[in-house]
Symmetry: C2
Subunit: 475 residues, 2 copies
């Protein structure tokens, strides 16, 4: 939201090896450059049409206000078959629509593991023929079922889902339970340990969490306030995409007494507490549906240029925009730039995958890098980069979220509501923190890093917004 005109200081004296010099080098100068950056090539006419759209300003104000009004509460945990009506052979996946033929390695791996989990095949390898034949199986984006899924995002009927609700409207969104790190289905792994863990989650963890969450609901003590935890964790070094440690701990704090009182065997309760506490990413699967719950409030706002979803299936990166209904604007998913686990390198990584960019769409994740400077040791970059990233994202967003404030930026709200017009006008692309899956099915995670959408999807969306605006205008 920097609107003041600036000039580049001619000389600044560096005091110590510290933030000041870097602030000048990494923040001030790029911000100055931004003002001079040309729009994306070929977007000038559409930018003018959209800027002149009489609906635009109020539509964007309404869209942003709708997003900021939503509060997400964890109200239930239940199987996908029950809460999504998902039937045998139906598979949800991350990102925009895709078939097996174009699916990337990690998505194929997750589908193969999911088929085995559901008993459609005994050996995950046998699922290849099943998906190739297309007999009795179907693929559908999570987003089409009010759901989001990290990485491959595969959801099958037996998987237990977090159920989040907006108190004011009763609208709900869903996400599966997080499996942890390493060899996990969402990164495309499907070895026996992966399936054993998923079976335990279906048999013990899901039912135990259901009993605890329902007991909290019934006790009058209230269910888990996911939006409130997000507010707190953003002041505790989490950006709620690649770092969810404080969020996970607060969830554990809120659920532990009810888990102990659930009547489940002590050993099951202790194992579940250890599983959740041992997985710093557990809360990601609550942060994501909370963000979707907020953003879905703005869907279908005619004239609004605000992005309501960014999602990747490992092949395509897609966005949806408030003013263009449920249409996807897609381009090739990019490779992340970051740090690799063990001996893995860039050649091992699959292009960007997962619905988790819903966090950036809602103003956290990469957009809140400034609040999580410790994350640079996980995704790469430097602390001044982290501060500069959040500042840069304010250039392409409609406003700030006062609930989600960044202490080190003097409690400024996180940049919220990606504006297709601003992206096209500045050429600044949204910054996404992401995990990297191995490109070969079965490998699992190979690293974590930073990535952006393919630039061309924003001019695509802008063109559609311009066409709709033109169609509304009396000739």
């Amino acid at each position: 939201m920097t609107t003041s005109r600036t000039t580049t200081p001619g000389a600044v004296v560096n005091v110590g090896a510290d933030l000041l010099a870097d602030a000048v080098a990494d923040q001030a100068v790029p911000v100055a450059r931004v003002d001079w950056r040309p729009p994306m090539p070929g977007t000038e006419d559409d930018l003018a049409t959209v800027a002149a759209d009489p609906l635009r300003r109020t539509a964007n104000e309404r869209a942003l206000a709708a997003v900021l009004d939503v509060t997400a509460t964890l109200v239930d945990v239940a199987p996908a078959a029950e809460v999504l009506g998902l039937e045998r052979g139906e598979f949800l996946h991350a990102g925009p629509p895709i078939g097996w033929d174009r699916a990337s390695g990690p998505l194929r791996g997750a589908l193969m593991g999911g088929a085995a989990l559901e008993g459609l095949v005994d050996d995950p390898e046998d699922a290849v023929a099943l998906f190739e034949s297309d007999a009795g199986v179907s693929l559908e984006p999570c987003h089409h079922r009010s759901t989001v899924g990290p990485m491959a995002g595969v959801v099958t009927p037996s998987m237990w889902m977090f159920v989040l609700e907006d108190a004011a409207t009763g609208r709900r969104t869903y996400c599966s339970l997080n499996e942890g790190l390493g060899k996990v289905l969402r990164y495309g792994a499907y070895s026996p340990e992966v399936l054993t863990r998923l079976t335990w989650m279906n048999r013990v963890l899901g039912p135990l969490l259901q009993r605890a969450v329902r007991a909290l609901q019934d006790s009058g003590q209230g269910a888990v306030d996911v939006t409130g935890i997000l507010t707190q964790m953003l002041q505790m070094g989490d950006e709620a995409h690649n770092r969810n440690r404080a969020g996970t701990l607060m969830l554990l704090r809120d659920l532990a007494p009810a888990m102990v009182r659930s009547g489940f065997a002590s050993e099951d309760v202790a194992e579940a507490l250890g599983f959740v506490g041992g997985n710093d990413h557990f809360f990601l699967n609550l942060a994501m549906p909370a963000c979707k719950l907020a953003l879905d409030a703005a869907r279908g706002t005619d004239g609004s240029t605000m992005v309501v979803a960014m999602a990747r299936n490992g092949t395509d990166f897609g966005i949806q925009v408030a003013g263009t209904g449920d249409e996807w604007f897609t381009g090739p998913a990019q490779l992340a730039d970051g740090l690799f686990l063990g001996d893995y390198g860039p050649e091992d990584a699959n292009p960007d995958i997962g619905d988790s960019a819903i966090t950036e769409t809602a103003g956290i994740g990469g957009f809140a890098m400034a609040t999580a400077p410790a994350i640079v040791r996980f995704v790469g970059g430097s602390v001044p980069d982290a501060l500069a990233t959040t500042r840069r994202m304010h250039e392409i967003t409609l406003g700030e979220n006062p609930r989600w404030s960044v202490p080190v930026l003097e409690f400024q709200g996180t940049p919220t509501g990606i504006d297709v017009s601003r992206v096209c006008r500045t050429g600044i692309l949204p910054q996404i923190n992401t995990g990297m899956a191995g490109r070969v099915a079965g490998v699992g995670q190979v690293g974590a890093g930073l990535v952006t959408p393919p630039a061309e999807i924003f001019p695509q969306a802008l063109a559609r917004l311009a066409a709709l605006a033109a169609a509304r205008t009396p000739a």
Copy 2:
């Protein structure tokens, strides 16, 4: 550790309403001023004598290295009677030695409540006569028993203590269990609810934690790594004095499975989990003895000018120094400057009290303000103040703790090892984050804020260091 010479920038252009301008205003200029600040009046000769002490440099290097080498592990939880040999009628208190006659309201209130807890009196009010008569009761500083206590710091024989151990040496330190906020003994409250809670802690919480900690020790899984949690929490918005939220949550994560497996009744376990999880300060009582464990490693280092304890009894503020044995240098405790709860104001506050300044002595708390900018909403001040405070403390410390790094300062270690010489030479006083107790016995907490030691205790300590150095030098 800023050693480069600086000049004040003639003009810096402000880019946005942000950190840069404040960094210049609040950080660069004060740092520049520091270089020109005169020593404390009357200290010139002692500064020269101590500077010429041939032991000084290596003594300080050894003292700092000893502190940094210590790692603290929670190895047991047990009653003070057992682990400290505390007997009926013996009371420990925070700060340097003091008697009932000079004791402040909150210390008196805590002693009165402690006497009732131990059954020495039925009504806490009756304890006034007991302490005035001095019959069968005695007061001793926590520090004299390898113990630290927050605020009034009163420890009685029946209270359960955390037992921390340095793995390399087997040395141990101790601290009572944290009671929570509001009406609590350590703030001088002694109403029935205070005593009821303390009784429950003695009857349920202590024994349950003992069983969990001992089980972790025996399992080979290891006990709780307090130093490791401190490392993590300093990257999660805690400065480990007035903000211990992340630390408390990590402790809960580490203990919860063992608590569930303890064999205690589910309702007791659930209540204990709720009690710990509902008290963001619970971890303070582990942070403090971890700091004492580290600092005690440097006690008795001849020639070292490093402070090994700062502690307040509500009347006097005392320090101990590595090179001067167990002698206390004392002056009047100051009133904190900060924010008040409810309708309380400065006239309700007692002067500074508690052993908790052991955290600043070890390089966290007020010294790590930069890592916990959110705390300014609790203790007052601004985010740039928080960054500037940590930078300023580097001016009076011997080094940095590489284990405890501050992400936003590009992972610089916290300023560690307060040097009496540097304090006297610069006039910069250690910055302490503190809670404020009501000055009337029984009131409890009235606020939180920032405070410094009385300046005169540093020249006192310097004079003794100079006398010792002179005595060592052949005439």
